[in-house]
Amino acid sequence: MKLPISWLKDYIDLDGLTVEDIARKLTLAGLEVEEIKYAGLPMPDHAGSGMHSSGRHEFKTSGISWDRDKIVVAEIREVMPHPNADRLTLLDLYDGQQNQVVLTGAPNIFHLKGTGKLAKPIKVAYAKEGSTIYDGHAEGLVLTTLKRAKIRGVESYSMACSEKELGISEEHEGIIILDDDAPVGMPLVDYMGDAVLDIAVVPNMARNANVMGVARELAALTGRELKKPVIEYRTEGESVENLVSIEITEPELNPRFVIGLIRDVEIKPSPYKIQRRLRLAGIRPINNVVDATNYAMLDQGEPLHAFDYDVLKSRAGNKNVKIITRSAKDGEKLTTLDDVERTLSSTNVLVCDEKGPLSIAGVMGGAESEVTDKTKNILLEGAAWNFINIRKTAKQHNLPSEASFRFSRGVHPSLAETGVKRGLQLMAEWSGGKIAPGLVDAYPLKPKDSVVDVSPRDVKRLLGIDLTVEQIAELLTRLEFKCEPTARGLRVTAPSHRLDIGEGVIGLADVLEEVARSYGYDNIPETRMSDSLPPQIGNPIYEWEERVRDLLVSLGLQEVVSYRLTSPERESRVVKYDEYVTLANPITPERRVMRRSLVASVLDAVEKNARAESIAMFEIGPVFEPVKSDPSTGSGQALPNEPRKLVLAMTGLRDALAWDVKESPNFDFYDMKGRVELLLSGLHFTDVSYIPTDSVPYLHPGKSAEVRVNEKVVGVFGELHPLVKDKYEVEEAPILVAEFDLDVLRTVSPSYEIKPVPDVPPVFEDIAVVLDESIPASKVEALIRQTGGRALANVKLFDVYRGEQVGAGKKSLAYSLTYQSDKTMTDAEAAAIRRKIVRRLEHELGARLRS
C-alpha cells in the first residue's frame, strides 16, 4: 500500500518526526515500510555529518527533494506564441517576486495561446534556473539541472513542470495545473511536498490498509491524538429510503449493504490536490465521482461502488430500485466494466436488481450501470462481504483490485456506513451534487465485538513483562479497545473496526499481541529460559546419516543436492516407472513429478559436470514412492513412502593431472568397490559380501555386484550399462555407480569389537595357487581364512596373474598370509597351517600350488 505522508497528516500531527522516524515506528509495529519515495520533502542526508543516531539509511529510498528557493508556486498570466515555433508557447509567468518568460510545449495550455491576458491566472509549479528536477523527456528517471539555453532563438532558463519532472508520477503529457488557492511564491515543498511510504500489509493488519488505519496505529505508537475527519453534509430532496430497497438473500455472504444517493453531479476532473494524492497512492485519477470512491476507500478502508442511478431506474421501469444480493447461478453471465463477458459460478456473489446482475460483489462492477461522463445521479454502495468468498472469486476471475485486496482480507461491516458517507461527502464537495437524505442500510448480520479477559498474570506468563492493570489498559485504549477493570484484571472489548480479535484463549493471544506491539517489542527484555529441560531423545537416524556423509567426504567424494522434482522422461534414461507422485500444479513439465530414482538425480549431476577431469560425488536423500489408497482409513489416496537412498558416482581420471603427473587411468569398478568397502567398514560392518549380479538394469551385467551385510541386501554397485551411458552426454570414461537403501542399511546391526594389539611379532608367508578362471577370488580367500582359523590374522591378495605360465582358462592368485598367535609361532607350526590350507584348496577348488 502506497501512503502519502501529506494525507496521513490530515489525521495526526507529525511535527518533530522525520519521514524515517515514522517509517521506523510503523515497521517495528508490523506495518513494514518497504520503500520510501520522496516527492518533494527533503531526503535525509546520510552521506555527511548530518547522520542521526542510528546513522544509516534504514529504508530503501528513492525520489527527489524540491529546493525551497528554486521550485515555487507561480502563476501564468498570459500564454504567448513563440516567434519561431508553432508548437511552442511563451508564458508570461509571475513567481511571486518577478515576471519571467518561460518556454513550454505543454499541450494542456496550448489552447490559450494568443488569447491575451488571462482573466484567471493559471497556477503552476515553477522550477527556476539552477534547480534540479527529473528530465521529462528522458527514458526513466534522470536528474537534470536547469541551465540557460537558447531554444529556437529564445532564451530558456526555467520551466513550468510536469508531474514526471517533479517525481510525482510518470505523467508528462502536460504541465501541472495547481488548484486556484495555491499561494504564488510559496516554496512548492511547503505547499505540496510529500513522501510516500510503501507498506507491506500482512493479513492480520488488513484493517490498516488505509490512511485512517495507519494514522490510528501511529497515534497509538506515539501517544498523539487521532484527528478523525468530520463526516457531515447537507442533504436535500427526497430520501433515498423511499426510492431504493435492499434484499440480502445470504447474510453469511453479505452481512451488510448500505446505499446512499447523490443527485445532479457534474462529472469533471477532481481538484489537483486529490489527483496528486491518488497518483502518489498508485491510483489513476478518472473523474471526480470515481476519484471520490477511490479516495474514500484509501481514506477509510471501505471499497465503494458507484452505480448510475438513472440506468438502474430505467431497468426498473422507472419504479423503485430493488437491490438484491445473491449467489450467482453456475454459468450465469455478466459483462464487467472492463468489457469482458464473465461466466460466473455459484461461488460468486452478485449485486443484482430485479432485472438481473449488476456487478460481481466486492470484485468488479458491471459495464451497463457504470458511471460515465453523462451520469447525473449516483447510487453509492458500501457493503460487507465474506472474505473467503471474495478471495475465491477474485482468484477465479483473476481480478486483483484495490477493492478485492481489501474485501478478501476482511473489511469490518461497520465501515460500510462510514465509507458511504465519506464518499457522498467528497462527491458533493467535488462535483456540486446534492446528497439525498438518509441511507438504505440492510444489516442482517452484525458482528459481535469480541470480549477478552486479560490480567497482569497473563502478560507476565506469555510476554515476560510486569505491567499493572492500568498500564495494560493504557496500552490497549490507545488502540481503541474498551477496558473495564475486573477482579482479576481487565475485561477488554475490541473496537468495532476489528475482525482479527477472537475470544477465549485465542482472543487472549490476540490481545497480548496488541499489548506487546503497543508496548513496543523493543522494550521487552531479553531473558534466558528458566523452564525445565525436555527429555533427551536425540535423533539416531539423523546422526547416523550425518556419519555416512562424513565417511563419504573423507573418501574424497563431493556431496550434491538435486531437485526432488523431475520428469519421468528424465528418469527413464536410467529406469522406467509407471507410477509417480505427480504434481497437480507443476511450474513446468520438466518438474512435474517427485523423483523415484536417486541414481537419475546423481547421473544428471554427472552429465552437468561432464567436462570435469574427474568426478566423485554422492547424494543422500529421499525418493518418493506412490502408495495406493488406503482402504482402512477410507481417506482417499495415501501419503507416499519416502525411503532414503544413498548414491555414489565416479568417473574420469583416478589421479589429478599435474606438472609431474602426465597421465592417469580412469576410475574403474575397483575404485568404486574400494569406497564401498571403506564406507561399510567405517560403519563397522564386518560381515559384508559382494555377489555378482546381472539383474540391475542400469548396470553392466558383468561389472556389477550386490552388496550384502549380514546376508541382507543393502545395495548394488558397478559400471553404468553402456546403453544407459549412451543416453547421457558424457565423456568416454566409464561411470561407476553405487546405490544403497539407507533405511535397510541402518537397520543392520554393526559388529564391532576393538582387539588388543599383540606383543608377539607376526609371522609372514606368501602362497600362490593356480586355479580355474571361473572360481571367484572371494571363495578362495574365504577358504583360506576358514582353514587358517584364529592363528591366521590376515590374508591379503597381492597378485592376480593370467598368461602362458599358468595356461589358458586358469589364473594365479598370490596371497600374503599373516600368522599371529599369543606366543611366538615356530616355523613348523606355520608350515603345518600352510599345508592344511594348500590341501583344502587343492581338494575343494582344484587349485594347484604354484612354485
Binding site: 530503501k60 529460559m529 507422485v581
Partner: protein, 352 residues
Amino acid sequence: MLDKLNEIEKTALESLQSITDQAALEAWRVANLGRSSPLMQVFTGLGKLSKEERPTVGAAANRVKTALESAWEERAQAIKEAALAKSLEEEALDVTLPGRAVRVGRLHPSTQQLRRVLDILAEMGFQVYTSREIETDEVNYQLLNFPPDHPARDMQDTFFVRAEGREDNPILLRTHTSPGQIHAMREYAAMNPENPPPIRIALPGMCFRFEQITARSEIQFNQVEGLVVGKNITFADLKGTLSDFARRMFGRHARTRFRASYFPFTEPSAEMDVECFVCGGKGCSVCKNSGWLEILGCGMVHPIVLQNGGYDPTRYSGYAWGMGPERQLMLRYRIDDIRYFWGNDLRFLEQF
C-alpha cells in the same frame, strides 16, 4: 732422530693442505699414520734406541702422532661439511612449483550451513527432529491455524499432489518444516498426555513453494525451525534465545531487532533482523542500505497450534521460529543467484 720426526710432521702437514676429498684423505692417512708410514716406523724402531734416547724420541713421536691425528680429524670434518654443503645446494627444489594434489570431498554448502546452525542449537539444548517432505493439507496448514481459503495461504504458494478422493485434505509438498511441530508435539504429548513434557527441538529439512525458478526464487529450499514448549516460556525468552543464537551465528557483538509481523501459527509474531554483518550496519548493497538483514520469522506458538499438538494453552506456552540456511549463505558469501544450490555445478560446490 728428532729432526727426522720434525721433518715427517712438516711434510705430512704440508701435503694435508692440498687434500679436498675423502679418498685422498684416506690415502694420506695410510701414508702418514698407517702401519708402514715413516712415523710408525719410528715407533717400531724405538726398541733399537739407547735407554737415554728412547723416552725423548718416544715422547716426540707421540706428539707428532697426536698432531697428525688431530690435523686429520680437522681435515676430515672440513671435507664432510663441504660435501654436505655441496649436496644441499644440489638438492634444492623449486619450491614455487605446485604441490601434489590430494583428492578431497566436501559437504554441500547447504549441509555445511545446516550443521553450523544445528551445532549451535544443539549446544543451546535443541535436539534435531525430522519429518516427512510430502504432507497433508491438514498437517501443513489446518492444524497450524491456516483455515481453508484463508488469506494467510496466499503467503505460501503450494505444490499440490494429484490424488484421488482427497478434496477435503489434499496431499501437498510441505511449504515449511512447521508440520514437524505438530508431529513432534503429538509425539511428546503421547509420553504423558495429562502432563506433557517440555520440548526444545530444531526441525531441519527441505521445503517446497510454487514459484518460478529465478535468481531470486526457488521451488525448493531448506528450512530450520526451532520449537520450544513448556510451562514457563515467554516472549522475553524468545527474544533472549534468538539473540543468543544470532550472537553465536553472526558474531559476539551482533545486534538484533524484533519487528511485529504475522504468521498464522504464532501470536505475537515477529521478524528478527540482525545488524548487517557485511557493512556493520553502515548500509551496503547486501542490506539494501538498511543496515539490517532479515534473518528469521518467529513468534509465540498460537494457542490453536498448542491445542492441536496436545498441549493445553492455558497451562503451556511456547515459541517457534524459522530460517533459511541458503539465504544465510547467500548473505554471507554475497551469492546473487539462488539457483546455484541445486545446480550441482562442481565449480560452485568446490568453493565451499
